[in-house]
């Protein structure tokens, strides 16, 4: 009987766990290690952040699901891996520290036959002085953060109703952030709620981003075929900004967040600042900080992980200029090149490079979106790695047959622009593939038939439908596996 240990129970890790259990039944052991007791449908945190949903609508307890599915659940965080085993035992091991009330602080060494690192990001608020809900700005990265943010937002709306004028800044809290789409969503949901409250005229809404131009979204922008023309996501997004009177500060790296001022540097080297009354700024991501040691106890962290803390996988990490980037640089199996039983999926794998053109300011500051790894590809990675491990266990082979490169996979991104069945809307986009492949699609890098964008009420309905569908799926209710990732 083999033991497969999955670190993390987010979209990627939880998907991997459910598929593994479905494929392997009780023949092999599936263990999930997660410091959080709950699963969170992160895309809907935006709505929690403006008070349209509660935390209970976007989270549920993991333990009962895993109990029902006979998946061994440890509420703990992983700290160290020994991919070669240790002096006493050559079997791979991971050290975990329990975070549940009963065993808080206790450590345990879990041996594994396969290890899937699906730990997601460390929310690196510390990268920018003053950033984060413990300091001067709000966040929607977790359901709890979003709930507190909605309280602060409600106070702003109350002040606006009293006739006060306010400035709301939404965006990126560092030059190397990802999740530009999420910040866009939050900005436009805020704008929508201000209009619904009848106070829009008293509020200035500003999107502060590290994108070079609007519509980049960390994927180097998109080209859409519309009415016989190839238009681009820059114009499309600018149009929405104009329509809704949202201002923008672009190409910005936030240096510091004071209680009422955000200080930033821009690509031309100029320094700027904006006074605010409410700021929701996302943090940059890095790996959770796992360490790795070889059998003799030597630190091999730098060989196993990239400098940003994400796991090196089967990607081409050689340094190359943007013009030489290729779809082939991107991983397919998410397998460590050093250990064939170690995988990194979702946000936990180290991308070979960004998707958007990298830029630095004239002072050398990186001001460039990191590549997004959104829900859809993360779920697919989880499923494919699970299926490959199951295949290997059944056939005793050393590789699995399936691949899940972001350069051959598409994604749908529904950026909510207001949560209401009648008055809401969303910018609904599809892109294929996620990572542009200029060899296959020389004109735009993507298939223009499958790369589309439209704004309308139906986008909101789709996002709401996906909310219910994916929570149903994650709860492993009957037929869950019929809902595609």
């Amino acid at each position: 009987m083999a033991r497969i240990v999955i670190l993390g129970a987010g979209i990627s890790g939880h998907t991997a766990a459910l598929h593994l259990k479905r494929q392997l039944k009780n023949e092999h052991e599936v263990v999930v290690v997660s410091p959080n007791a709950d699963w969170n449908w992160i895309p809907s945190n935006i709505w929690v952040g403006v008070g349209k949903m509660t935390t209970s609508q976007v989270t549920f307890a993991l333990a009962p699901i895993y109990r029902r599915k006979r998946i061994d659940f440890r509420q703990a965080k992983a700290v160290t891996i020994w991919p070669e085993g240790d002096e006493t035992n050559p079997m791979g091991a991971v050290e975990i520290v329990y975070t549940d009330a009963k065993r808080q602080g206790q450590t345990e060494l879990l041996r594994y036959d396969f290890l899937i690192n699906a730990t997601g990001p460390k929310l690196n608020f510390e990268a920018t002085p003053g950033l984060g809900p413990d300091h001067n700005s709000w966040s929607v990265c977790t359901a709890e953060h979003a709930a507190k943010t909605s309280e602060a937002f409600a106070e702003i709306v109350a002040a606006l109703r009293r006739g006060e004028k306010k400035t709301l800044v939404v965006g990126m809290g560092h030059g190397s952030c990802t999740c530009e789409g999420a910040a866009f969503e939050y900005a436009f949901n805020v704008e929508h709620e201000l209009r619904q409250a009848g106070v829009r005229d008293k509020a200035e809404v500003v999107d502060l981003s590290n994108e070079y131009e609007l519509g980049d979204f960390g994927v180097d922008g998109m080209k859409f075929s519309q009415n016989g023309y190839l238009t681009n996501s820059k114009i499309w997004t600018e149009s929405l900004f104009r329509e809704r009177n949202v201002k923008a500060i672009l190409g910005a790296h936030v240096e510091r967040v004071d209680p009422d001022t955000v200080h930033y540097e821009q690509l031309d080297g100029s320094k700027g600042s904006i006074n605010y009354d409410f700021a929701m700024l996302l943090p940059p991501f890095r790996g959770v900080g796992l360490k790795a040691f070889d059998r003799s106890g030597q630190d091999i962290t730098e060989e196993v992980f990239a400098p940003n803390g994400f796991l090196r996988v089967d990607a081409d990490y050689s340094a190359k200029p943007y013009e030489d980037w290729s779809a082939a640089d991107w991983p397919k199996t998410y397998q460590s090149p050093l250990y064939d039983n170690l995988f990194g999926i979702g946000i936990a794998f180290a991308p070979p490079h960004p998707i958007s053109r990298p830029r630095t300011s004239v002072n050398g500051t990186v001001i460039s979106p990191a590549p997004p790894r959104t829900g859809m590809p993360s779920g697919v990675m989880g499923r494919v790695v699970a299926e490959n491990i199951a295949h290997r266990l059944r056939t005793s082979s050393t590789t699995g047959p399936k691949t899940a490169s972001m350069a051959t996979m598409g994604a749908a991104c529904i950026a909510s622009a207001g949560a209401n069945l009648r008055t809401g809307s969303a910018a609904a986009m599809t892109m294929f593939p996620i990572v542009p492949d200029y060899q296959k699609y020389p004109l735009t890098g993507r298939d223009t038939k499958s790369t589309t964008g439209e704004i309308g009420r139906s986008g909101h309905w789709t996002k709401l439908l996906l909310h219910y569908l994916f929570i149903y799926k994650a709860r492993a209710l009957p037929g869950w596996y019929l809902i595609p990732e």
Binding site: L214, S239, E243, A248, L250, V380, G410, A412, P484
Partner: protein, 48 residues
């Protein structure tokens, strides 16, 4: 870098007809169906 707000100010605005179709129940029901079919096709394509 205020070019961006200049670009925003010069961006095309949707026509009245476009604004109506964005909210039209019948039209949006059709767009909902088509978008979800497109999404499923794309998911299937990526899973091959």
């Amino acid at each position: 870098m205020d070019n961006v707000n200049q670009d925003i100010a010069n961006a095309p605005l949707p026509t009245r007809r476009t604004l109506k179709t964005r909210q039209s129940l019948a039209y949006q029901l059709l767009r909902f169906a088509l978008f979800n079919v497109r999404m499923l096709r794309m998911v299937g394509k990526g899973h091959e």
